[in-house]
Symmetry: C2
Subunit: 266 residues, 2 copies
């Protein structure tokens, strides 16, 4: 936890009074991902679990399909660099670089959105259901685990859960990074995600739905708002999208049949 | 305002009760920026003021220095495309594309952070000061103007202000986009920004400081948390960084001499 924050001198103003204090501020580091020896992207992120971040980013971008595509990973936390070598090697690298020239890394998932042939294979098929009371408990568990958030207010959190509890959890200064970290952890540990729920503190834009779809996640629960494009995509992909999950309240935007309302919690 | 939101059917759950309702959801569209006929980047954003977004993005990335670099702009709102032609034309385009191969658009401002020669010319020199009570009033004015936020909870807001009030304001599903939109507006309208305050609802990561520095903005006020890297950069660049500005409370992280504490508001 100490690595995630730094104590800085600040001036705290409260109405007409001001006092110098030392306060915790969340850390931010640049991390560069090298794919088969080529500098692919630099992300601004929290310094924890950067190997999960790298693998999750490559997975969520569709660059690797799973653990079997990875030949080696080496993370240099001090210098903020992760080297990933894939089984496909140089061939993959050239394809990616050629493609990046056209779309760039920032318009993530855009070619995906435009192309029905890409979404076709990614429809959520899981018939997994969950009670609304369980959704509320899982969101609460994520909040309890968000220690860096409670100390600094400066991070988003993301979790993967089944009905019994959280199986992967992370925090990051970026809402995309937090999700990439738990997806990367699930890829590396071989955790099957198609019967898991993705929980996020952040807003749900279309690129978040794309990340979930690549993991075959069927239920996404957010504390915050979705966009109309994320709702449309969730409906098209058979994903259950829950927003504004706060206490026992929540809004269900798509495929509500996976949320069982009003039955008693354990 | 109607363009910014869409009414969708949702299931609203409140404890054990559930009801179908129609609710407002914020809109999200992909917008592609063509620079001198080359597809530069696709951003996921709110549909309003996409020409401001394009110009602000190009400015904040350091691709254009001001209005004098722009030859023409054409925004096709329906198809989500903005064409920008620069005076430098093809030469600029080739330089950018060559560079993008190495850094990509996502690690925004990173080469900037690494290189003291870049930051040197961008030190905030303004001796503009503001009372803490005025900071509180400006933050409040931004919140009052954040209509899309109040309707949907799904956007960030950004404003440019002097001590008397807001001179530019926008909202967007992305915190970076909202800031790019007000910077783009100031570039196109020739608004001088070195004596203005940047107000943002979002977290302040290092890339936000870089955007402000390129506009010579000397004071940044956020409702949310900064990161340690943004504080370091603000200190190095002579920028006053205020976080957690909520009501009459706020934390000052750097160059506190620009904030005058305890004097009476008008």
């Amino acid at each position: 936890m100490k690595d995630e924050t730094r104590r800085l001198e600040i001036l705290r103003i409260n109405g007409t009074a001001a006092a110098k204090e030392r306060d915790l501020v969340v850390r931010e580091v640049p991390v560069t991902i090298f794919l088969n020896d080529v500098d692919l992207v630099t992300l601004l992120c929290s310094p924890k679990d950067i190997e999960y971040l790298a693998i999750g980013f490559l997975f969520a971008e569709g660059i690797i399909k799973g653990k079997e595509d990875i030949k080696s990973i080496f993370a240099d936390k001090k210098d903020g660099v992760v080297w990933v070598e894939t089984v496909e090697g140089k061939k993959l690298r050239d394809n990616i670089l050629a493609k990046r020239f056209i779309t760039t890394g920032c318009g993530k998932g855009l070619s995906f959105l435009d192309s029905p042939k890409h979404t076709k294979g990614l429809k959520a098929r899981s018939d997994f259901k969950i009670r609304d009371s369980q959704v509320a408990l899982l969101m609460k568990e994520c909040q309890v685990r968000s220690q860096t958030y409670r100390m600094t207010g400066g991070v988003h959190s993301a979790g993967l859960a089944n009905a019994r509890g959280i199986v992967a959890f992370n925090e990051d200064i970026g809402r995309h990074n937090a999700i990439d970290k738990i997806l990367g952890e699930s890829v590396l540990k071989g955790i099957k995600t198609d019967n898991l729920i993705l929980i996020t503190s952040g807003r749900v834009s279309s690129d978040i739905i794309v990340k979930a779809a690549r993991s075959r996640i069927a239920i996404i629960v957010s504390r915050s708002a979705p966009t109309d494009l994320s709702v449309k995509l969730a409906r098209d992909l058979g994903i259950t999208l829950v927003g504004f999950a706060r206490g026992s309240r929540m809004n269900v935007y798509s495929n509500g049949w996976r949320i069982v309302v009003g039955s008693h919690a354990r």
